[in-house]
């Protein structure tokens, strides 16, 4: 039996279709990524899967329990970490975790033990008596994770767990996710960070405008991403014919001009850099800036779906391309 099974899941807000008939399933112990730009429908999907918002149509099963008809059994199995760190600012870290545990009807001793273990794991135990309101953003995030894990869930939902956090907080959270995978806990996480999806997930679904564009192993995704790397270069003076010269570079797979910058797409940025330097010397051009860039999510999405960038941009004015 799959840990999560989603069939034709749809959510409408008035005329807006936030999630449009998506299908996927996640195996037990798998770490599944939901990758998409702002407004893609990631949070809405999690809210439906966790029973926080009503499902317009379709079904969602958690270990075979339907979230609508068998709500309690389904909810009992899951832990939730919302997009916003929703901790009670006026309660201490300890009281926050204990309260979360009480909602799951755990025994007192279990709550206390889990609270201590989790606060230690997330490096908050020393600060357990401090009010959550006095915590930094990263600490609140870690506290939210501790609260989401207090019932030892079999399926954990994480809505952008590490976005906007520093290296230390990210590391702790990634370690915990890896550790959960070892314990056969299923993790469903959303992100708009391609790197994060690559590092943490076994499989990744790409969602845009409420529709899944593709589900693949990150390896496959990585190939797409690699072919979409680019080098951005600008020269001290604009000279006609430069585009043609750049296009002739053997490693370049495409080129665009944005303002005074040239963007050269390539699967091999280091090689292009070397050629660029040689070329600049030869043509007597002075590069004033050179940057290598990964693809935006939009570009990956476009590549996977075969839509052109222009149409995707026109359709998705809210979809800010994130690097």
């Amino acid at each position: 039996m799959d840990a999560i099974e989603v069939i034709g899941l749809t959510k409408r807000f008035g005329d807006t279709v936030a999630v449009n008939g998506i299908n996927f399933s996640v195996k037990e112990g798998e770490t599944f990524g939901f990758l998409g730009p702002n407004g893609a429908g990631k949070t809405t999907t999690i809210r439906m899967l966790t029973g926080m918002t009503r499902i317009t149509s379709g079904r969602a099963l958690i270990h075979g329990h339907d979230i609508v008809s068998d709500t309690r059994a389904a909810k009992q199995l899951m832990g939730i970490v919302a997009e916003i760190s929703n901790v009670y600012d006026e309660l201490s870290a300890w009281d926050n975790v204990v309260f979360a545990g009480r909602l799951y009807h755990l025994k007192r001793v279990d709550i206390q033990r889990n609270a201590r273990d989790l606060l230690e794991t997330f490096e908050l135990y020393e600060r357990r008596h401090d009010l959550a309101g006095s915590f930094s953003k990263g600490m609140k995030r870690r506290l939210t994770l501790a609260m989401g894990l207090v019932n030892r869930p079999k399926v954990l939902f994480l809505d952008e767990p590490t976005s906007g956090l520093d290296v230390q907080s990210r590391r702790i959270i990634r370690d915990v996710i890896q550790d959960l995978a070892r314990k056969n806990v299923t993790v469903f996480l959303t992100t708009h960070d391609i790197e994060e999806a690559n590092v943490t997930c076994d499989r990744v679904a790409i969602i845009n405008r409420g529709v899944i564009a593709g589900i693949d192993a990150p390896e496959k995704l990585k190939q797409t991403i690699e072919s979409l790397q680019s080098v951005e270069v600008s020269f001290d003076a604009v000279r006609p014919g430069v585009v043609e010269v750049l296009r002739a570079l053997p490693q370049a797979s495409g080129i665009t001009k944005e303002g005074d910058k040239f963007r050269i797409y390539t699967a091999d940025p280091p090689e292009i850099l070397a050629s660029l330097c040689a070329l600049a010397q030869e043509q007597n051009l002075r590069p004033i800036s050179i940057t290598t860039r990964g693809p935006s999510l939009e570009e990956v999405f476009v590549r996977l779906t075969g839509l052109s960038i222009d149409t995707a941009k026109e359709e998705g004015e809210t979809d800010a391309g994130l690097d």
Binding site: F13, T50, G51, M52, T53, R54, T71, R72, A73, K75, Q76, I80, A82, I84, N86, V87, Y88, D89, E90, L91, D95, F99, A100, R102, L103, Y104, H105, M147
Partner: protein, 250 residues
């Protein structure tokens, strides 16, 4: 143990956890405690000075107002705030029923209002030199009135908004008229016939009647009717609350 009993126990546990959380966050704050304790005395100064009423009439009226206001003071504020901070989502995603959420949200206000009511009574008894005749009716009056009106507050907060002001102005639209039609300021006996017909529809009328009975055995409807009406009101409010919260999920 049958499944449904287990579910009820589960929900009661969760409701109690929610109530304790609310007490800690919202009620056990010095400023809230002080202002709530001062409220009945301010009311006393506002209504007793210069008026010609006996303590037996005055104290039940003051208690009814105090219970109404302290039971509805925090619930309608805390829920919109928790919607804004998204902590309310924690309750929606927990394996508990909406009934548990509504009960939990109402319980803390009820406990708080009862405590304030008891302190106010204790002071009133000493200052006004009167006594309680029916202690059971008194306890039932305080407890039922508190939980009824704190549930009413929770009911108002089911209106899906993150804006506290909206809920408060709606609530005042009901709270203030209640005072005037329930015999608290204007004795029902001195109202015209239509006044009595309206008063019959206000739960505060029965709450006031029951508390009054506890002090001097004066009653319009009799304590049994008062208790029955309050219990019925409580059930209706709780069920309506569960339905409204169920519906207010987007």
């Amino acid at each position: 143990m049958p499944g449904w009993i287990e579910e009820i126990l589960y929900d009661l546990g969760a409701a109690w956890a929610i109530a304790r959380k609310d007490m800690k966050i919202y009620y056990l704050k010095p400023s809230i405690l002080v202002s709530s304790l001062l409220f009945p005395f301010v009311m006393f100064l506002a209504f007793a000075i210069g008026r010609d009423t006996t303590p037996e009439i005055l104290l039940p009226g003051l208690l009814a107002i105090t219970l109404l206001f302290s039971a509805t003071s925090i619930g309608p504020v805390s829920i919109p705030i928790e919607r804004r901070t998204k902590t309310f989502d924690r309750l929606l995603s927990a394996p508990i029923s909406v009934r548990a959420i509504v009960l939990g949200a109402s319980l803390s206000g009820a406990i708080f209002a009862s405590a304030i009511g008891i302190v106010a009574t204790a002071v009133g008894l000493i200052v006004l030199r009167i006594g309680i005749i029916h202690i059971v009716a008194f306890c039932a009056g305080i407890g039922l009135t508190s939980i009824c009106f704190s549930t009413m507050g929770t009911l108002f907060a089911s209106y899906r908004t993150e804006n506290v002001g909206e809920v408060m102005s709606l609530l005042n639209l009901v709270r203030l008229p209640l005072l005037f039609i329930s015999g608290v300021f204007i004795p029902i006996a001195s109202m015209p016939a239509w006044g009595l017909s309206i008063a019959r529809f206000s739960p505060l009328t029965y709450a006031h009647d029951l508390i009054r009975f506890a002090f001097d055995e004066t009653t319009l409807f009799g304590p049994v009717t008062d208790v029955a009406v309050l219990v019925l009101t409580l059930i209706i409010f709780q069920v309506a609350g569960a339905l409204l919260y169920q519906r207010s999920r987007e």
